[in-house]
Structures are given as C-alpha cells and as structure tokens.
Amino acid sequence: MTTNKQQIPPLGGRRARRTTLFDKIWDAHVVSTIENGPTQLYIDRHFCHEVTSPQAFNGLRARGLKVFRPELTTMTADHNIPTIDQDKPVKDPISRHQLETFAKNAKEFNMPIYYPLGHSKNGIVHVIGPENGFTQPGMTIVCGDSHTSTHGAFGTIAFGIGTSEVEMVLATQCILQTRPKTMRITFNGKLKPGVTSKDLALYMISKLTTGGATGYFVEYAGEAIRNMTMEERMTVCNLSIEMGARGGLIAPDETTFNYVKGREFAPKGEEWDKKLAYWKTLKSDDDAVFDMELTFDASEIEPMITYGTNPGMGMRISDSIPTLDEVGETGRISFQKSLDYMGFQPGEKLLGKSIDYVFLGSCTNGRIEDFRLFANYVKGKKKAKNVTAWLVPGSWKVRKQIEEEGLDKILEAAGFSIRQPGCSACLAMNDDKIPAGKYAVSTSNRNFEGRQGPGARTILAGPLVAAAAAVSGRITMP
C-alpha cells in the first residue's frame, strides 16, 4: 500500500480545488450552507425500512407534518422479517407489530412506493434500489442503514443516516451534513482468478482498519475496479462503512449505463439520452485533488477471511492470526478479548478448521452473481453433513432469477435449499440466528460479537470461500 496524504492549503475554510466526482455531486445538491456549520443537502432518493423508520414517522405525527416528497422515498420491509413462510402471519408479535406499523405509516402518509412482504419488488433495500432502477448516477441517496454506501457503485453520494435524519428527509427532503474529506483508493492490476470483489474489500479493510477511513468519502478507481461488474462494484462500495468511510463511490461508465438502462424507474427515450450525456460527465478531473490517496496492487490479493470481531481483523485464508507481539500495546486488550470470543489463539492458522454454518446472502453478497458463483462451485458436490447452510436471496427478483437459470436445481442436488429474501442472519433480528459458540462462514458484512446471534462466531468471506466451506465443512481454499 502506498499512501500520499496531500497537504492542501485552506481557502477561507474550504479546500482550494474541488474537482473530484464527490465534489461535483455534492455541489449540485447544496441548498444552503450554515456558516461554521453543516451543509443543507438535497436528497434525490430516500430508502426506508421497517426498523429505523417508525420513530421518524412518529416524529412527523408529533409535529403535525406531512411527508414533503413521498414519491422520493422507497419503502421495503427487509430487516426484521422471516425468510420462510412469508405468506403466513409473522409469529413474533413484536416483529409483527413493527411490520404493521410500517404498513400503517406507508398508508397514513400516502407513500406511493411501498413493497411489503411477498411483493414482487420486495427485498433488501440495497438490492432492490439498483435492480428496479431507483439508483441512478449523480444522485444523493440516504437510508437509515449504514450499508447505503452500496449505491455509490453507480456514482452516487449514498450514505447511512440515523432515525432523526430519516425524519428530516421525510419532512424536508434535506439533511444537514458536514462535508467529509475525500480519499481515492486505486486498485491497479487485475484480480487473480478465484478472487472476488469481497476479497478485495476485506483486504482493503484489513489494511485500513475499521476506523481507517472515518471522516472520508472514498472514490474507488483503477483497472481492477473498472473490470468489475456492477454487482461486484456494489459489494466493494457496500463495505466502505466497515473501514469507517462515510461512503464510497465509483465513477459511472458503460458498465453502469448498461446496467441501469431499461430498468423500471430508469429514464426512458429522450430523457435517457439527456441523462446519459450528463452521467458521462460524472468523473473526477485528471487534476482532481483528494485529501488522501491510497494505491493497492489488486494482483496481490488472495481469498480472504476474518478471524476477529470487526471487519478490519481479516487475513489471507492461508495466513496465521497475528501474534500478541504483532499487535500494538494499546490494542492488545481488545485483540485478546476478540480472540477469546472467537475461541481462537494468537498465531493460529484457520485453514482446515471445522465450521458449523454457512450464510450466503445480505446486501453485500445476496445478488444473482453471488448465487452463480456459489452454485457453480458446489455443482456435482455435496453439502458437508456438519454444516447448516442458509442461502438467502437479496430480493424476490434475485430468487426468481435463480429459478429461471436453474441454479435452484443445482443447489438442491448438492443438498442446499433456498430461503425467501431478507436481511436474515446478517443481523439475526429474525429467527435466523447462529447458535452460541458455533462458527459461521458468512458472506455478510459484520463479524461483531453477537451480530449473527448471541455468542455466534462469524468468519466473513466471499461467496467462493463460503461455498468451499459448505461442501468441505472446513475453512478451505476454494
């Protein structure tokens, strides 16, 4: 990794040049600026789910407010829903009440875009946004969910917000935000075969640590990023928050335009042509100045796993966990606490280690390409007897496509079954909880203590490593 922290002379509290892609999109959305304070930013698209919105709607009620621009909010139930029997009433009364509240809010506030359980466009908020064409280059996008950074793959400023901010957006279509610093991370070279965009992201986070990009908005660039499909780019941008970044974005190109074109909410006809011409201008200028620049060689990246309890604690699958000597003194207590939770020893190798669960899904890796990779690997093989596998598509559209491509038959022949869409075991709000002490190889985004259930031990990985673990019952090089 090479670092170049640029010293930029301040100019009346602002930096001298603002020619990055981030700056262009940000500047196009500034409604007003508060002196010595945040910027009032206009939001083009707001995504909304059942868990972080009820208190915001209550806030509107308490103030006697309407939703200012209802058509700019997309509502989908995803976080707290079962992934089986979605056609039946939700068993847990508190979860059912939360979903009923979501429905009531949609109705009472006349929200025109609302996808409840079982709707053909229902799914994880960051999967359905792009797949239905809501997500378009140049937009500002927010959601009460930190993985909103996913949408940055289309060249948008997209970031997670809290519930107070959800209320602000519902009430005014605006938000007050302090302008973050800019960082560019360039991946030169090509990824090796069998190395996924998830591996690239886990590698990057392991280098930057879990707070290494805090305060920054990241632009991803370089040959390895350009070569990626939209879904691969979404995986990278999705994980921006795991190194603390406010968000991550990628300049739109032909790959982006081809993906967006023809989707339901994408511009059509003459409007498409006009928008396309504008979208083609959305890139950082050649002389753009970033507050920080990092460069990696993509060809050095290998399949990755995590060994600890934050996404920055990652390593190559064949590596050993760092020893206490390799960890700085101040971080040693936290490091040891983390390994104690995971039941691992400093210096231990994890290759060959027996695992109990495999989770394929989430806004990070729950798209059709992830299912293709997984199915292709397990084709003709059998799921290991000691492994419980949960395969959870990111949306109903993804599930439908799995069936259309016959991937369900391949997976079933190998001993797997496909569940109904939702966030599922990524945050385990529903019944999809990994039991205490069990090891899960998970394609999701967080390995925090208890994230996948109280006491659950999460090993983050890409879909190929997950597939290899599912058939061997062990941590295995795919």
Partner: protein, 208 residues
C-alpha cells in the same frame, strides 16, 4: 431537546476499542417502534447473562463506577447506523461520551439526541483511565460553552472541537428539523432552479 449545561460527574470507564453499535444495543432489541426503554438493554450482551442476571465483571454492574459520563476506547460507535445506540446511551443516563475517536454516524446520532461526544487526545484519554483506576470517584467537568473538558484528578484541561452550529443547537435545545423546516421556501426554490438534467424528480414512471 433539553438544553445542554456544564456537567461535572464521576465517570464509567470502558477501555475497549472499536465498540460497535451492535454491542451498544444488539439488533434483537431494535423491534420497538418508540424510543423508550433502550437504556435497560445498553450493552446487553456484555451486561447480562443469558438468564438475564447481571454479569458482575461488567462495569455497568459495578457499583464503584457511576456518573453521567461514559469514557470509552478509540473508534467508539462504529458499524450500524442505528440511532437506538444513542437512545440507549441517553436512556441509561449518560449525557457525555468521551473517546479519542468516534465513528461518524454515531457522532451525528448522539448530537441529534442531546448527547455530547467529546473527542480528546489519546494521552488525555489514557490519563482519565489511569485516574479512574486509582480513584473511581474521579470527576470530569465538561463545559460546552468554552469547549473545555477538565480531568479534576490532575486539573488538566483540554479543548475539544464541535461545529458552531451544533454547539448552538445543544446549548439552546434545538434540533436540525427545526432548522430545516424554517428553510422550506429555499428547498422549493432549489427544486425549481436546479438543472433539469440532475434531478430525479418527475422521472419516476408510476409516480408522476
């Protein structure tokens, strides 16, 4: 929102780094549709056994430590954007969280709930932990008006940053929504004037 006043209080030390919001309030407690009661489940998995009895080795269960100031290791509040984390911290009774580094979203959420995140230098943080270890009755004074935090054990003070707007909001008990609602005309003007090429408005097929 309550007006923020100068606080002098003993502290609850949590010298753990990278405390993520899943630890502050685990996801299974996010099923509520109001903001009440989250304080009871603050740090639930560190604080309680499976059967709900308190874990005696966790700081919130140690009667030696109390106060309205939480002092935590660096990178506090990383991970999920859940504002429930701020509601849990506020609900428990904390008014201030001190650390050498905060995650962005948590910082915003705290401020939007009248909780002040105070960023101090790693040395200052370490001195607090040391002083509290020596004498759990050690107090800190947090003066938002002057932007000064004082460790009353050694009388050492440090200034802290906060943007002028947020400071005014906290001191006067105002929130961002009040401000934004006062700008409605400006927002409508922005919608009218912005480039027709870069707004999604009017482009949504079924919602026109």
């Amino acid at each position: 929102m309550e007006k923020f006043k100068t606080i002098t209080s003993s502290v609850v030390p949590l010298p753990i780094e990278n405390v993520d919001t899943d630890q502050i309030i685990p996801a299974r407690f996010l099923k509520a549709t109001d903001k009440e009661g989250f304080g009871d489940n603050l740090f639930a998995d560190w604080r309680y056994q499976k059967d709900g009895t308190p874990k005696s080795d966790f700081v919130l269960n140690n009667p030696t430590y109390a106060g309205s100031i939480l002092v935590a290791g660096k990178n506090f509040g990383s991970g999920s954007s859940r504002e429930h984390a701020a509601w849990a911290i506020g609900g428990y009774g904390f008014k201030v969280v001190v650390s050498s580094f905060f995650a962005d979203i948590f910082k915003n959420n705290a401020l939007n709930n009248g909780i002040l995140p105070v960023v101090v230098s790693p040395e200052f943080l370490n001195d607090i932990f040391k002083a509290v270890k020596k004498d759990p009755k050690t107090t800190l004074t947090v003066n938002l008006q002057d932007q000064v935090i004082t460790n009353n054990a050694n009388k050492a003070g440090e200034t802290f940053e906060i943007n002028a707007y947020k400071k005014e909001c906290l001191l006067n008990g105002l929130d961002d929504i009040d401000y934004l609602l006062s700008k409605k005309e400006l927002i409508e003007e922005f919608e009218r004037k912005r480039s027709p090429l870069n707004p999604p408005r009017g482009t949504l097929g079924e919602c026109k």
